[in-house]
Amino acid sequence: MPTMNMIQALNSALDVMLTEDPDTLIFGEDVGYFGGVFRVTEGLQRKHGLTRCFDAPISEGGIVATAIGMGAYGLRPIVEIQFADYILPAYDQLVSEAARLRYRSNGEFFAPITVRAPYGGGIFGGQTHSQSPEAIFAHITGLKTVIPSNPYDAKGLLIAAIEDDDPVIFLEPKRIYNGPFDGRYDQLLKVWAGEPGAEVPEGRYTVPLGKAALVRKGADVTVIAYGTMVHVAQAGIAESGVDAELIDLRSIVPLDIETIVASVRKTGRCVILHEASRFGGFGGELSALIQERCFYHLKSPIERVAGWDTPYPHAFEWDYFPGPKRLAAALIRTLEA
């Protein structure tokens, strides 16, 4: 099986879909000739033709609005928002149109669109190239939100997202495009080759939306993470020496509540880890769900380790980024509580 980094795996997913489904097409800022600023669409215009993968005007609202119209007509548009930070001009389209079209038209119209966007920090990208906006999509019913943590999942989830009949926000943790990153920024950079999840089949396969992955089995505490934080969690667990179970959600909507509940009922403790700032973050929803469903199994308060409630600050990348040390401290705290 070939080894791929996450960029190649995503490219392969798009290539497969353009090949197999004539109703798919890709557009977004700089995705055509250039292949996107992160090169995810590289070579697709050359291979599949100008109308299958092309540049869009700098108008995120326009990109999503156009995709919705195409989707309603019967196509399966896949659009790229250059950075998730720039998805906000499209928020109205996503919330008021994509998410509600099926409901308000009683199924006459729907928007089977996929909106890809690189997201997250760890790259010294400053306030507007580092944010993690998943919670603002999770809050909107009618939208699905998917976040892969390795190349294999990235490809399978992206194909599943494209084939899904509902609008899907597909957030790509850009810090792990080229290799896994566990938050230990002073260590040598890793590449994907040889790492779990880097062997990716050439052809079509799917990883279903709404199925979490059990990354590590453990007895004492459940750690819930997604995206880059899955790798940070592994480092944090190792550093703490705690026998933790690690769940990679893979999609936050639909949410694999069964896997979460089964694990927390077993361990009796839970730490939630995400990069997004803490207040109103997705960790709050997870914490509430667990409290509602596992209250009598809990041995200590649920902890959230997250970005601080500030914008993402350039000089303070590693002070802001919730790294393995902060997770390890939380794990130890929950065990002592």
């Binding site: 800022e29 700089d30 055509g32 000739y33 250039f34 600023v37 100008l50 109308t51 092309f54 540049d55 869009a56 005007p57 700098i58 108008s59 995120e60 609202g61 326009g62 930070d85 720039y86 906000l88 001009p89 010294f124 990208g125 400053g126 306030q127 507007t128 190239h129 803490r278 207040f279 601080w308 409630d309 500030t310 914008p311 600050p313 350039h314 000089a315 303070f316 002070d319 802001y320």
Partner: protein, 410 residues
Amino acid sequence: MMSNTPKLQLHIPTPPGRPGDEPTFDHLEIPPAGTVRRPDMSAPEADLRDLPYGLIRVLDDAGRAVGPWNPNLSADRLRAGLRAMLLTRTFDERLFRLHRQGKTSFYMKSEGEEAIGACQSMVLGRDDMAFPTYRMVSWLMARDYPLVDLVNQIFSNAQDPLKGRQLPILYSARQYGFYSLSGNVGSRFGAAVGWAMASAFKGDDKIAIGYIGEGTTAEGDFHEALTFASVYRAPVILCVTNNQWAISSFSGIAGAETTTFAAKALAYGLPGLRVDGNDFLAIWAATEWAAERARSNRGATLIELFTYRAGGHSTSDDPSKYRPAGEAAKWPLGDPVERLKQHLVALGEWDETRHQALQAELTEAVRAAVKEGEAVGCLGKSKPSVREMFEGVFKEPDWRLIEQRRELGI
């Protein structure tokens, strides 16, 4: 299902050349300098509707100032403009190299576009406000903003005036009439209009100038700003810096295949001027015209500054991957620094020796500022107190921020 009507086809614009092709600008019509009429600035909008399709140029190929738009500037002013432009270029080259050496995370040059900020900074008053793009550092250079403060911001070091909170080059300099930049493009264009409306509301005499790249005219921000500017007759100058490239996308992706950016003004009932953006004198004259219009309660003007992005988009891209090699050298409107220099030389007010001396002086000034910034520390070697991360979110930090700061032990 099939009918006799023709099959529809989806049109996707493509640029005249890509890597491997001969660069060409043959598709552009560049009128000779001095040929566009100069109506009085008090003319009603209905009498100005040819201007968006012309190209206001003053400097001809020999470096002479010709035609009705010649602003007749003193040699001192011209030399001050040349200095600001050359300083911008010198600074850009040096800082771009420092990024390559790993001393900061990001940089963007304004190569080829230095005339715009330098000139308009000189035309507008100290009390006016610019809402710049990231390619407008020449505005600050023309106002003698301290170079070391720029360097410290770029290094996000302990002396960074923005306390390490912002990406390199996204400056803020209120005292210099330079509104806070952000990484998202376009989103300050409407604030320029609001600022101008506030001045009118208060009965002040200040105006605002807003900037947006041609690529970003596709955002709603552009159209919203024009609507408000028109409806409320805001005392604002709205500028499109058309450097023909938005990262790898040519201006056809922003609608330039069928019209000009200046012509976007027409449907909003605003005057639109299309100006040679590499011609210091033409920019001066057009800006002065629009500023007088704004100051006399005649409302907003849209100015397209037609230029060419001579360098890459930023430190993150390689333009040889998407543009024909040598395209910059073929750009018919040349280089703004060279053209102003040529004009001064033609006037007998400048020569190669003085130019070399100026270049040496500016190189030294930039070197000294960089040295001073490096002494504080480049990115990763020095940073403001981590406390600063929690400041400025609100005027007073709330309990969350206070608790989180404590969690970090500060």
